[in-house]
């Protein structure tokens, strides 16, 4: 028997960092990945898909069209059972609680709810109480939970999943949702807990391979899990160090070398960092053009700091020296602002027509 464990799809996410068109395409891709995953499930003979929370990004901005499409997909694949636990982003939507909900879609109550599935029992609760959990140890038990995995409860955070509290409960696989990258933990001798991660990264805090977990239950009642990379696009954050770089050609060479292995369909954030001499004026327009021509989405972030030594300007009897001394002495500015003001002022003094802000 095969099952799929997924979570944190965050459908209808707000993607303000993208352009409106890219955001629209990316939102469609999030939904399309769900559809592709269900097709994969049918091809692989998967009998159930477990969604461990955060199917939607926000209960406030769920589109009717998305709900309709989801229902159609679920109803179309009627031989696959869908078990969905509400996550902290889903809210109390109750989207599939009405009479017209697909029969193969199953949700969970506040307290522990179990569904038998041919020798496997799928259990979850929206408000889980580990002490109230009672499972038949003869069954293969799969538990769905949504929250931050911790060793033990801390009273301050209700969204925590205290792994120690679930040890020795007869669990075979703990399907977790909330954390957006595939991660696994050992709960006890029998149980393993996994975050499937999100199937598609949405921002540059979700870089790397994304997908779902494929579970296979052997005739000996062993649960074998395997992470399946499945995202249409991968997000990359590339650090480009400019320390010691004093000419534009060297900057461009370093940038192309750092970006060489990334597919054009992926999303890239190029963070330029390191200490830059104030007299070196990098022309980022060329870098930006290269990024926009070579990747589906790319963004550049400037984290460089100006290599300014106050003693160099102590006796500098020039407007530049006077200006830098003045900026350095301005306590109302943050370090970042100070760098930005100096960089901007020097560009202006050097007569640059295009001041890079």
């Amino acid at each position: 028997m095969k099952l799929i464990h997924t979570a944190d799809l965050h459908l209808d996410s707000s993607l303000a960092n993208f352009s409106a068109e890219q955001a629209r395409v990316r939102r469609e891709e999030l939904l399309d990945t769900f559809r592709r995953m269900v097709e994969f499930a049918r091809e692989e003979g998967v009998c159930a898909i477990l969604i461990a929370g955060d199917l939607f990004d926000s209960a406030r901005q769920i589109r009717k069209r998305t709900v309709k499409t989801l229902r159609e997909i679920i109803a179309l694949y009627s031989d696959i059972q869908f078990f969905s636990l509400a996550g902290n982003h889903d809210g109390d939507t109750g989207l599939f609680d009405d009479a017209e909900a697909p029969e193969n879609f199953h949700s969970f109550q506040e307290s522990w709810t179990s569904y038998p599935l041919g020798g496997v029992t799928v259990t979850a609760a929206r408000n889980p109480a580990p002490e109230a959990l009672a499972l038949d140890r003869q069954d293969v038990n799969i538990l769905l939970l949504h929250g931050q995995a911790v060793e033990a409860f801390s009273a301050s955070n209700a969204d925590e999943v205290p792994l120690r509290a679930y040890a020795g409960k007869g669990i075979d696989y703990l399907a977790l949702g909330h954390y957006h990258s595939f991660t696994e933990y050992r709960v006890d001798d029998r149980a393993v807990a996994c975050y499937s991660g999100t199937p598609e990264g949405r921002g540059f805090d979700e870089c790397g391979k994304k997908g779902f977990v494929l579970l296979e239950i052997t005739p000996e009642k062993q649960v074998i899990h395997r992470f399946v990379p499945f995202a249409q696009r991968t997000l990359h954050e590339i650090k480009l160090g400019l320390s010691g770089c004093t000419v534009q050609t060297e900057l461009e060479r370093r940038a192309k070398e750092a970006l060489a292995e990334i597919p054009e369909t992926d999303l890239v954030k190029l963070t330029v960092c390191g200490e830059v001499d104030p007299d070196f004026e990098p022309d980022y327009h060329r870098i930006d053009r290269y990024l926009s021509e070579h990747f589906w989405f790319a963004r550049r972030k400037d984290d460089t700091v100006l290599l300014i030594r106050p003693e160099d300007y102590q006796n500098d009897r020039s407007l530049k020296g006077e200006f830098i001394r003045l900026v350095q002495a301005d306590t109302s500015l943050t370090d970042e602002e100070r760098d930005a003001v100096i960089r901007t002022g020097l560009q202006a003094l050097y007569g640059r027509k295009e001041i890079d802000l």
Binding site: A16, A23, K64, L319, E337, V341, T344, G351, L357
Partner: protein
């Protein structure tokens, strides 16, 4: 520094002009047109050179202006002293432009200064020189913005970046204005407008969303009410179903009552004494018994045919029929006789057949004569087979040939001729005997073969005729034929004996049969076959016995059966009398059938009644009704039906409402589904606005800090300059010192009658006075740090001063001449 002397070869209108300078004030008082300004220009040219220019205006083109009128060598020399020593600079202008510096102490060329002598000596460029130490009536006011002056004033190392300040400031200001302009224009204004537009749209769509939410709530309410109505309708259907079941119960109850009434009617026909099924069965049995008895009675006694047969048989057997034992004995006899006769006849036939076979066998064998002749033939053949003369020849040859050979060998060995001759004779005789033997044998064989062939042919003919195989040994075959012939003759004799014995036995059997036929004839049976006749007699005898016995038994049985029938009839009548008002006219059997029918009907009714009662109980239990009397409390089905119809209409209304609201919600959803996109766009624009504001703030902050840096840098000299300005003004104005103030651009503002006035609003004299003070204070500021202090060159700057101010100016010049060298060019003696 100090000017020592100059020598002008040709420069403007001056030609071969020499001038020596003293310390302090050096006055050159010449009329207008003498060349005082040219002299001043020469001094400037010696320090800074005279660059060529394409400008047409002579006032702006010194090269063209001062090209010698008279031609000749264009240039001159100037001797000066400074901290580095005393030098003579020689310059030529025009086609042969040249520069040379000589140290007067050594007379050698010096590299202490380059061609940029003025800049290196005074720290300012030519324009700055003209703007500071060169004071003329036409240019008393120093021009603002001279870089070298500013650099000199501020001590700036790089003139380049200070000269870029204006552009940099403008660039930053322009970029800042791209973000924010007056009237809400610029990126920030545009983004704010977009945000406002998005907010407006969001407000509209949210209003739609509110309506949609309201409609969804209404839809939920409609669905709830529809569900409630559907539930009520379902309950009503259940009630209607129950009502139907109650109606069925009522109908069943009516039927039950009817069955009970019919049952009572039936029971009344038995006057309360209802027969049981067993009693009926017993009565039926009795009736059957009666019928059976009557039937049997009817069958009792002889039939007519039997009676006639009995009479006939009585005549045949007047003294009684022969007993079965006698008849059986006779029958056995007849049967055995028939078997014996048959056996004898078959044996006779067989014997006759054997006899015929024997005859036939004999006929198929050679006659005795033939066999005897054949025997003789065989005997003769044996006789001719005795040994003959050829055997003698053969034996002789066997004796003579070896003997001849031995003799020949011995004769040859011993060479005995007679022996050899004898041997030859023996060998010849032996050979002759052998040849004779061979010839005789050949002849015998040829005659034997012919005889053999004839004998063989005869024997074979015989054998072939009697079916014996040919080629067999003729003797054996003949012996076989002889044996066969002997056996056949023996068998024929035996067969003849057998035939005779059997013919006698046949005669005896025929006699016994005749005796039996005589016996049968005594009972009027004429049958040629005694066995058949005896069988017929036996049958007649048995029939006579049976009929006789039957006649006697019938008489006894009839009497008994009549008694039984009477008893049974009495019992039946007594039972049938239970029926009230019986129809005695009909047979008991019919009355019993009527009774059975009534009872069957009663039982059927009882069954139906029981079924109905059980059914009723079950139905009542199913509906939870304890008692039939409670049926009256059940609702009216008609009212239920009416309510159902009413509910169907209500439900239809809810469904219509639901469809309408759904369509409306879906229409709105097309708009409200865009809310997240609007919100996303709002977030995007808000972020963009924040970024724009940040960039604007960065640009403004940079611009302001750059300006502050510039101002700080360029106004560092201002306090001392102002102080000197005030000092010089006090010296020139005495007690009427105006409240004048100098700014960083060397502009003077005068506080007069409570108002700030520009210097242009004053008289020419006052203006020149104020500007003269500005120039002096500027020179003080420029060389305040002990650098090489240049001379002061005054080109008649006091022409517009009144006498009092002129006197003050001259006094000031005297005072200044104490600390620096002054070249005062003047055209009028009054101003000297």
């Amino acid at each position: 520094m100090k000017l020592i002397s100059l020598s002008i070869e040709n420069f403007g209108k001056l030609h071969r002009y020499d001038l020596s300078f003293a310390d302090g004030l050096n006055t050159v008082c010449e009329e207008n047109g003498w060349g005082k300004t040219t002299l001043a220009a020469f001094l400037k040219a010696m320090f800074y050179g005279l660059p060529k220019s394409g400008k047409k205006d002579l006032d702006e083109n010194d090269y063209k202006h001062y090209t010698p009128w008279q031609g000749g060598h264009f240039g001159g020399t100037l001797t000066f002293s400074c901290k580095k020593g005393t030098f003579r600079v020689e310059r030529s202008f025009g086609e042969n432009e040249a520069f040379a510096l000589f140290d007067t102490a050594t007379g050698l060329a010096s590299t202490a200064y380059s061609e940029s002598l003025g800049k290196e000596l005074f720290g300012i460029d030519a324009e700055g020189f003209e703007q500071s130490v060169f004071l003329s009536i036409r240019a008393l006011l120093p021009k603002d913005g001279n870089d070298s002056i500013h650099a000199k004033l501020t001590g700036i190392d790089e003139i380049y970046d200070i000269s870029n300040y204006e552009n940099a400031f403008q660039l930053l200001d322009d970029r800042a204005k791209e973000y924010k302009k007056r009237g809400g224009a610029g990126y920030i204004g545009e983004t704010e407008a977009k945000i406002q537009n998005i907010k407006d749209n969001l407000a509209k769509v949210r209003e739609l969303s509110k309506q949609q939410t309201s409609e969804e709530e209404e839809l939920a309410a409609v669905r709830r009410q529809a569900a409630e109505t559907a539930a009520e309708e379902k309950a009503l259907q259940t009630a209607l179903l129950r009502a139907g079941q109650v109606a069925e119960i009522r109908a069943s109850k009516g039927k039950l009552d009817e069955f009970l009434r019919q049952k009572a009617d039936l029971e009344s026909k038995f006057a309360g004494k209802i027969p049981t099924r067993e009693e009926l069965s017993a009565c039926r049995n009795r009736l059957n018994q009666i019928e059976n008895e009557r039937a049997a009675l009817a069958k009792t006694g002889l039939t007519g045919e039997e009676q006639a047969e009995l009479v006939s048989l009585s005549r045949r057997f007047p003294t009684g029929a022969p007993s079965a034992e006698v008849l059986n004995e006779k029958l056995t006899l007849a049967t055995n006789l028939r078997a014996e006769q048959t056996s004898v006849e078959q044996s006779l036939l067989s014997a006759q057949s054997d006899l015929q076979n024997c005859e036939a066998a004999l006929a198929g064998l050679p006659s005795a004569e033939e066999l005897k002749r054949a025997e003789r033939l065989l005997e003769s053949k044996k006789t001719t087979a005795k040994p003959s003369i050829w055997t003698v020849f053969f034996v002789l040859s066997l004796l003579l040939l070896p003997a001849g050979a031995v003799m020949l060998t011995t004769g040859l060995w011993q060479s005995v001729t007679p022996l050899i001759i004898g041997a030859a004779a023996a060998l010849g005789a032996g050979v002759l005997c052998l040849i004779s033997h061979i010839l005789l044998v050949l002849k015998r064989n040829r005659s034997g073969a012919e005889e053999q062939h004839r004998f063989r042919s005869e024997i074979n003919t015989l054998l072939e005729r009697y079916g014996l195989p040919q080629g067999q040994d003729a003797g054996a075959a003949l012996a076989l034929l002889l044996a066969k012939r002997k056996d056949a003759e023996t068998a024929r004799a035996q067969a003849l004996e057998k035939c005779r014995e059997l013919t006698q036995a046949q005669q005896e059997c025929r006699q016994k049969a005749s005796d039996l036929r005589t016996y049968l004839a005594s009972y009027e049976i004429a049958e040629s076959n005694p066995e058949s006749g005896l069988f017929a007699l036996l049958n007649l005898s048995r029939s006579w016995d049976a009929l006789w016995k039957k006649q006697k038994d019938a008489q006894t049985t009839e009497k008994q059966k009549n008694a039984d029938i009477a008893a049974l009839t009495g019992e039946v009548e007594a039972f049938l009398s239970r029926l009230v008002d019986p129809n005695v006219a009909i047979a008991a059997k019919d009355r019993l059938a009527e009774m059975e029918e009534l009872l069957a009907r009663r039982e059927a009714l009882a069954g139906r009644i029981a079924d109905r009662q059980q059914e009723l109980e079950e139905k009542l239990a199913a509906l939870g009704i304890a008692d039939l009397s409670l049926l009256d409390l059940e609702p009216d089905p008609a009212a239920l039906s009416a309510r159902q119809k009413e509910l169907a209409e209500i439900l239809s209304g809810w469904k219509n409402n639901e469809a309408r609201l759904l369509a409306q919600i879906n229409r709105r959803a097309a708009e409200t589904d865009k809310i997240p996109e609007w919100e996303e766009e709002l977030a995007r624009q808000t972020e963009a606005l924040a970024e724009q504001k940040k960039r604007y703030a960065l640009l403004v902050k940079t611009r302001d800090l750059l300006k502050t840096a510039h101002d700080d840098l360029t106004t560092r000299y201002l306090p001392s300059t102002r102080q000197n300005f005030a000092k010089y003004l006090a010296l020139l104005c005495g007690k009427d010192v105006p409240k004048a103030e100098l700014d960083a651009k060397f502009d003077v503002t005068v506080q007069d009658s409570g108002m700030s006035r520009q210097v242009e609003s004053y008289s020419r004299g006052w203006r020149d006075l104020l500007r003269f003070c500005v120039r002096l204070s500027l020179i003080d500021a420029l060389y305040a740090n002990g650098e090489e202090t240049p001379f002061l060159l005054l080109d008649d700057p006091f022409t517009n001063l009144d006498e009092e101010r002129l006197a003050a100016a001259k006094a000031l010049l005297g005072e200044l001449a104490k600390s620096r060298q002054i070249l005062y060019l003047v055209c009028h003696g009054d101003r000297v």
